[in-house]
Symmetry: D2
Subunit: 338 residues, 4 copies
């Protein structure tokens, strides 16, 4: 049994990790930290876990704790303080923060306003999008678990980029449920403010922009403009991205469809369909992708549950790869559908 | 032109007062205070008022301001500090807080945890439910504007109580949109917490309980048990109350219907219908009431917009009575319907 | 491996049965019928099942099909035509319609407007609420799977009724998500009509009334008035019931709490808590129950997922009992929480 | 008093026209037709109009009815059968269908699948977007009232197009509330299908595409590619469009801002702001527009109430222009804000 811990577990991602791991046959959640909830039974703070865990939140991991893997559900900058210590102890780390997602420390500093303090491990970190980087993940000690928007966007675009079917700038119009904003009440997630609206926010300045661009540039070998506009959606779980790119002259709709099929037909967690639908993915690790061709423009769409494939589920998928489990272990359940 | 001011105007009720008064032909909003927004144009903090008011929020009302009426959109305890000063200046006051709603200072202290500091004016205050107390309001200097839940509940029950058709305890199962909770973000109004749920809260302990009981007792001349269970509903505007009472032996459905008709047929803002519907009332000062008889139980229902008939609209209705305008002046617009 | 079939599987309940059974280690879904979808892959009509079933919908079950259990997700009257044939073939039946829930055929006829055509099996049918009738279910050939409202209501009231703590009439104010209305578009589930509202419907006339009353009377040995008011709630999954009963003179809050604890502490799928919350139950077979005492009135509350514990999940729980599996087999997963 | 009639008034647009006209000081609604509701009081079918109209729906307009203006809330093809008769009688027509919006009958036939039967009046019709075509509307006999998506999109783009600040293709990612789909229940507006989702539909094939392109081409004098992707949003009223265009080399953010200001500063119903918000516009005729510059891309956003500025409100605004009222007559009320 692989022994796991979660640091910073009191938020939605922590709850989701605990929910998934509670049913995982090969990974056991041994400890979960939370400053604000220390000493409190997890199942009391997260009543949906009643009957599934007897653990209490702890203030910090025991120094001599014997963990095989630690999931960091910490904010950025906290992760890069913790990673060196954990790796020194020989513990594999799956970091759900942004600290190890951007390869270039200068880009990190530009977008996050902090110098990166752990360039050594940054260079070793593997971007944890299994459908694209499965082999690298298998041998990694540190996995940078992708952001929800980048996961959704990149899965919808990867076949186009990998096969060289598009060129020029990419426009990403993204819509996310409110759980993506975390569990702390804010003005923007105050129900009267968001429940009968859809609100664009951080247009052109959202920190997932360089993360998307990094992968896009990597897949194409080019320097691609990525315009990223997130919107807050009046649903709780789920995300849709609608992306726009220009087809290389002469590319047909059939070639596009073939690209999606060849890339995803063997994938367990990506379903190629006509119109992606959030409800089919809710509560599950699945991502639905689809496209339409409109003149010379391809509209690439994807839907997923931001807390599962967009966060905790993908983290467990990465853990499965690290520890040679079948990739779907503990994740092999369908979405709610309705 | 009647000159009005609002104290404590930065919340939803203040915005709604400004929205309604901006279209009122006989009352002019001359000042609106807000500590947090002082100096800021109202239409900047409340963009829906752009083009309808050029006022800026002020920190406090000018000492020598020449106001005919002041609306208090202040929290409880703040109102009872302000009322004596305003009344001394000969200004009529419509208080939207709870400070002057409970006739007995001991009951106030029991439910609000504060001694009442203005017993003199408390005894003069008139409960501002026009459909029941229109004549008293006409002669008042201080109007205690009812709470949203009491307005909705009492309008649904009044015909039964006035006509002596029911006896015994009254159960009120109430459901309110989130705007009733005010504009400050909280855990309970955090979208992920409330948007796919309905949550009972303060069961038996909500402060609108003695307010409802006060009117019920007054109408019946008895000491009636009122069980009041509010629920937070995943909508923004609107409220429904479903109340249960026992019919006096022998009372028929026809008598009940006749009671509703005789009490409300001449009322401008109360519609007697079969099943009250929130959408018909949204954005308007209307209240829909209806009932069903099930065996010896009568189920009395009412729907209204908690920010209008449940707060600011009713306050303007009261102002119309105070200043001898037609009661519907400035309020004569239909609900959105959809 | 127990072989199961679903008749009438194209609705939400059928999808939910397929979703749950796809992960059940001891029951295998071998066939699912649907007139409208016959010949179509289930996973095409229900995309959330992609990867979890390769079955196609069939028009009808094969005459010589070797099934151990059939779940009927058929409308009322259809079930009572099918049950005799299936039972004759020695197949156990779990009927999710109302046809076998009301013990008295006269009551059935009164509320459903049809004569009951299968009095023989009606008398043998066991009401499938495991927490109350587990032992009877174990020996049954025909289980009448309870309605969603009755499950939620009865679980919240059972400790009070069983222990004789309440007397007199019972008022049930119930609120259900729209998935309870089924998958056929109607005026009442048209999004603009229901999404910013809560609508009482069939007040006093809903067909779950006699079902609740039947169990209440059975538990108390008395003839109890049940006033049942359902409301349509603007959420998809989930249900809350708020019920009101009068405490027997002298009963204390501690006794009430003790009753809930003694009845539910050993139950896998019922959680006694302070305020039941729908999100903790969504996607799961759990029911949360709680209560408040207000004067001589007890307010009993319960929340559950109407498609799981209120329908398909409870049906599988019943199947587990019938076939001697651990009762939680295939149902041992937490709710989404958020 | 101008005498108005509505043909095809039983839908949301008809209700909204009646709602607005009920408060209009210069236009009187004299008749409203509805096949399905003929003979029924309007205020019974549309309870929010109770107290505001005593009219009954009629099957058809009286042959000799003395109307100054008729609003057509009829489906496409129905309008072009009615317009010639009405115009022959000297009645001004404001058509809310698509029949007279596309100048080229061939384009109409391509997108609507019907030959245009009234080319004569088509050539005379004026596109009723007052902010762009006010002068033409003033002299028109037939106004083609714009679609909701085109109104929102074009208002957000017009300053960029008119001032020649952008070039190349335009991408419109649009999101609409469900009231835009009309009042007939459908699978896509069934609450369980749409309430926890956002669904792209008719990607590249929506009939508002050529309408947007027509105006864009007209404003620029070029043949511009318009990629239009509508999404169904889980709100009832309100719409947001997020559009993407490429800035002409060297255009600065200041120039863009100046363009918006110069075009809209004098407009009563268009507010230039930073981030457009649906709630500020709900229930009102206002449109909020804003933009961000991201590299060489400008992101143009707009929000409005699809039933008001996107339909009935704009129709009344057009009527005001036709009959020389102040353009805001009867429309001079703020949005709900919350």
């Amino acid at each position: 049994m692989i022994k796991a811990a979660v640091i910073g577990g009191s938020g939605y991602t922590g709850g989701e990790l605990a929910r998934i791991l509670s049913r995982h046959p090969g990974i056991s959640l041994e400890a979960m930290t939370s400053r604000q909830n220390a000493g409190r039974p997890i199942a009391e703070a997260m009543p949906f876990l009643r009957g599934f865990t007897g653990l209490e939140f702890v203030e910090r991991l025991p120094e001599n704790g014997d963990f095989d893997v630690v999931f960091l559900a910490t904010p950025h900058t906290a992760s890069m303080r913790l990673v060196p210590q954990l790796m020194e102890r020989g513990i594999k780390v799956i970091d759900l923060s942004a600290d190890y997602r951007l390869k270039d420390p200068a880009v990190y500093e530009e977008w996050y306003g902090h110098q990166h303090s752990d360039a050594v491990n940054l260079s070793k970190a593997v971007y944890g999008l299994p459908e694209l980087f499965r082999d690298d993940i298998a041998g990694a000690d540190l996995v940078a678990n992708p952001g929800c928007y980048p996961t959704c966007t990149i899965l919808s675009l990867a076949p186009l980029l990998e096969k060289g079917l598009v060129e020029g700038k990419i426009i990403v119009d993204a819509k996310s449920g409110t759980s993506g904003a975390g569990q702390e009440p804010t003005r923007s997630t105050h129900h009267p403010n968001c429940a009968v609206s859809i609100t664009p926010y951080k247009v052109g300045t959202h920190r997932h922009t360089p993360e998307i661009k990094g992968v896009v540039d990597g897949l194409t070998g080019k320097d691609i403009d990525v315009i990223f506009t997130p919107h807050l959606l009046p649903i709780v779980r789920g995300m849709l991205t609608t992306s726009y790119a220009t087809l290389v002259d002469g590319v047909t709709m059939e070639e596009v469809a073939m690209a999606y099929r060849s890339v995803y037909d063997e994938e367990r967690f990506v379903h190629f369909t006509s119109v992606p639908a959030i409800p089919a993915t809710v509560g599950s690790n699945f991502c639905e992708v689809g496209f339409e061709v409109v003149g010379s423009t391809v509209v690439a769409m994807a839907a997923l549950d931001n807390l599962v494939k967009g966060a905790a589920g993908q983290a467990v998928q990465n853990a499965n790869i690290l520890f040679k489990f079948d990739e779907a272990t503990g994740l092999d359940f369908p979405g709610l559908g309705v």
